[in-house]
């Protein structure tokens, strides 16, 4: 993407960079490129944040719906958002216009709603207590997917309602191209279903038979993740070729096999192979909202324990735990990894959205190319003629650049991280909120505000750490962190070894007072002007 960004030591976040506040947010989702973050709130509205400016770009509010949003999902081209709410409704919004396209009421509260990756009106719903269904929003038809094979008796579940009736929570997701649905049922089986034919094509059983709570694919569709109630996250490698995978499976199924179950299990082994298992054997914590990083190299899972906000990051290839991010003592509700950057966004029980990013260590060599950072003092032995005065030119000019070479200034390289760019919505138009009619005199002489710390008002992000980039002007009161030097490889190796030993390394936690700014002497009046007008829509 960017040719001069140095490869980072570990491409995962480390500390809370910022948090976003707007009502009580429950669930979040990035659009395909990670430029917009949609957050569903407890009052039924959905807020779209411009992730670059950390400001609100749009608010989708439905007067008919006042129930808490249970899940948010972007369409592939970024033009639509699918929202499911606690009042059993399912709504498809046009983001730019801010209008509803479809709205359906289902039989049960949908816990999770996902749009088909390619077909814009088909979606997969995981209801509160029954089998997953596919819904065509246009025709409003629903199709219930099988959660177990017909011959087997209905799986007895260990989870029961208070009145004694059983409910079978099932998790489901589309594969990358949406031709197959992978369902995780309550007896630890992953069913691979061709949803068009509503037929099970393969089964993979997880040893132990624990209830599968989440099932998620990586962005490139190469890996599948399951989160089971036996406190283990399992990573499977997707063995199927990406497109037309359903056809492949059907070829595998021999028509004259004796036992259908055995046949399907055989087919299943051709589809998924267990790659890794992750668990915390010490605290044996249940996991919540696990997912992959954008490039599939890292697996992240939140601790489901109430009262703590811990995020575990594992290296998918090596299989080891690399980091535990610790946030404030609020339970974690939802977790997503940015599609491109090493950024993790988590939602806490209080409704705040925390943005975790890498800890900024200044790269001094970027400021002056001949700077070399030393980890320790080095003994420097000067050359024999180091301090001699040379009459002729001292600097040997490098071979003259061949200025005859052709230079291409117009060809644009395609972004390798994304396959194509159809008419994709990456940004919402930003109209400046007009200042109220104040004469310009008030602005002169106003104390400079180099940190966007703002007081209590809806929708603005709050910088947690003091701005490390502020220049000459010192606003005072804002904690300026000393610029830390990037540690050398040797030191990092040591740190890594220590981390793995302890298996615990807490990131910087929120300073208690910085939620609403430190002793900030004067606020820039501009922020207040911005508040009073609210946002568009």
């Amino acid at each position: 993407m960017n040719p001069i960004i140095d490869p980072l030591q570990g491409d995962f976040p480390e500390v809370i960079e910022e948090f976003l506040e707007h009502g009580i947010m429950k669930c979040i989702s990035f659009n395909r490129r990670g430029t917009l973050l949609a957050a569903g709130c407890s009052d039924g509205s959905c807020v779209v944040w411009d992730f670059e400016t950390r400001g609100i770009a749009k608010e989708l509010r439905d007067k008919d719906c006042a129930a808490a949003i249970t899940s948010v999902c972007w369409s592939r081209n970024g033009h639509n958002i699918l929202i499911s709410a606690a009042d059993k409704s399912l709504t498809l919004w046009d983001v730019v216009k801010g209008e509803k396209i479809y709205r359906i009421t289902l039989q049960q509260t949908p816990l999770q709603a996902r749009l088909h990756p390619l077909e814009s009106t088909l979606c997969l719903i995981c209801p509160f207590s029954s089998a997953p269904i596919t819904v065509d929003l246009r025709t409003e038809t629903t199709t219930t997917l099988p959660i177990s094979l017909s011959e087997k008796p209905a799986p007895t579940s260990k989870n029961k309602f208070s009145d004694g009736s059983a409910y079978t929570p099932t998790a489901a997701c589309f594969n990358k191209y949406g031709d197959l649905v992978y369902v995780g049922n309550s007896v630890g089986e992953i069913l691979i279903i061709d949803h068009k034919k509503n037929q099970v094509c393969g089964i993979v059983t997880i040893s132990g038979g624990a209830v599968i709570k989440n099932i998620v694919f990586s962005r490139d569709g190469q890996f599948l993740l399951t989160n089971s109630s036996d406190r283990t996250i399992r990573i499977y490698e997707n063995l199927l070729k990406q497109q037309d995978s359903h056809k492949l499976i059907l070829d595998e199924i021999l028509p004259n096999s004796e036992n259908e179950v055995e046949m399907l299990k055989g087919a299943g082994t051709n589809c998924l192979s267990l790659f890794r298992e992750f668990q915390d054997s010490i605290t044996k914590v249940h996991w919540k909202a696990p997912c992959f990083s954008g490039d599939g190299e890292w697996v992240v899972g939140g601790s489901a324990s109430k009262g703590e906000h811990k995020i575990y990051i594992w290296d998918r290839r090596a299989g080891n735990l690399v980091k535990i991010l610790e946030g404030p003592k609020e339970a974690l509700m939802d977790l997503v990894w940015h599609p491109v950057h090493p950024i993790v966004v988590s939602v806490s029980l209080t409704g705040l959205v925390y943005i975790w990013a890498k800890d900024y260590t200044e790269n001094w060599s970027a400021f002056a190319p001949d700077f070399k950072e030393l980890e320790e003092n080095e003994e420097y032995v000067e050359r024999e003629d180091e301090f001699d005065l040379m009459p002729e030119t001292e600097k040997v000019k490098e071979s003259e650049t061949n200025e005859e070479d052709e230079v291409d200034i117009t060809t644009v390289e395609k972004d390798s991280a994304f396959s194509d760019s159809e008419e994709e919505l990456c940004f919402l138009p930003a109209d400046p909120c007009p200042d109220p009619d104040v004469s310009g005199d008030k602005h002169t002489g106003r104390r400079d505000n180099s940190s966007p710390l703002s007081e209590d008002h809806n929708g603005y992000s709050n910088q947690v750490e003091g701005p490390e980039n502020s220049g000459g002007e010192d606003t005072g009161g804002v904690t300026h962190l000393k610029r830390r030097r990037k540690p050398s490889e040797k030191v990092l190796e040591q740190q890594q070894a220590q981390k793995v030993q302890k298996s615990k390394a807490s990131g910087k936690s929120l300073k208690p007072k910085s939620k609403f700014g430190n002793e900030q002497e004067e606020e820039n009046d501009m922020n207040h002007f911005g508040d009073e007008n609210g946002f568009d829509d």
Partner: protein
Amino acid sequence: MASSEALDNTTIPQPYKLKQTLTGHKRSISSVKFSDDGLLIATSSADKTARTWSTSDGSFLQEFSGHDQGISDLAFSSDARYLATASDDKTVRIWDVSTGVTVKTLTGHTNYVFCVNYNPQSNMIVSGSFDETVRVWDVKSGKCLKVLPAHSDPVTAVNFNRDGTLIVSSSYDGLCRIWDASTGHCMKTLIDDENPPVSFVKFSPNGKFILVGTLDSTLRLWNFSTGKFLKTYTGHSNSKYCISSAFSITNGKYIVSGSEDNCVYLWELQTRKIVQKLEGHTDAVIAVACHPTENMIASGALENDKTVKIWTQEVQKPEDRTDEMAKQ
């Protein structure tokens, strides 16, 4: 009328000729920009106002007054609905193009704001100032998102690349720095053996190269990833003012720049030869801009002149060409 001198026996097939002169500003012009759709030209001036003109007929459309001091730079948003101006009164103002009303005033700089630009998504504005910092602003709220400790001398130019991920800044301290737009970290510093004050910098259309103008009458094209310059363009005069330059890619690849000898220079990109000198201004040409789709150049000059001139390339039909050849 413009004469087209041919130097080194190379000429572009159809030379640029003066089409129109736009008058109205009361003091020297500081910046000229085309909107992305090519319909509007915006000019800023030391007379504390900015003006928009129609590209098609050069008619004056709107005046933007409100700044307390002269304006050094201006920029269109991508949809051309808003204009941002950078002024010596230490503020950046966002104007509604159609009505001429100030929509927002961005305060924070502690000295003259010298340069301003929108990012392609037009949700952020970057500005550089004599207070040696570069500031990134959120368009919607007017908040200053970042303050970059960019340089140790006045910042003369700031520019986003085509996908808005990088910012390049230049300064009188002789350095060009590349910044990551989302985090504000410095990615690279470009420095050569000598560092004359850098008066202008901008990204190439594909964002891989930067065009750097220095106050030793030189323009250079750098590949910032390798940190080496690839082309040098000389022949013009630039040692006092921050003269802007542009890429002309609508009909062949050229570099266009103003000059203190009152001409607009055109160099061929690859061969680096001067292919045309546009004469007509009566003072140093401080700003040039190229139309996004048509073969049109706009240039603005200083105090003695106070005008903006539009130059176009006549597309000759083949028959005309043979006639001309026959005449010669």
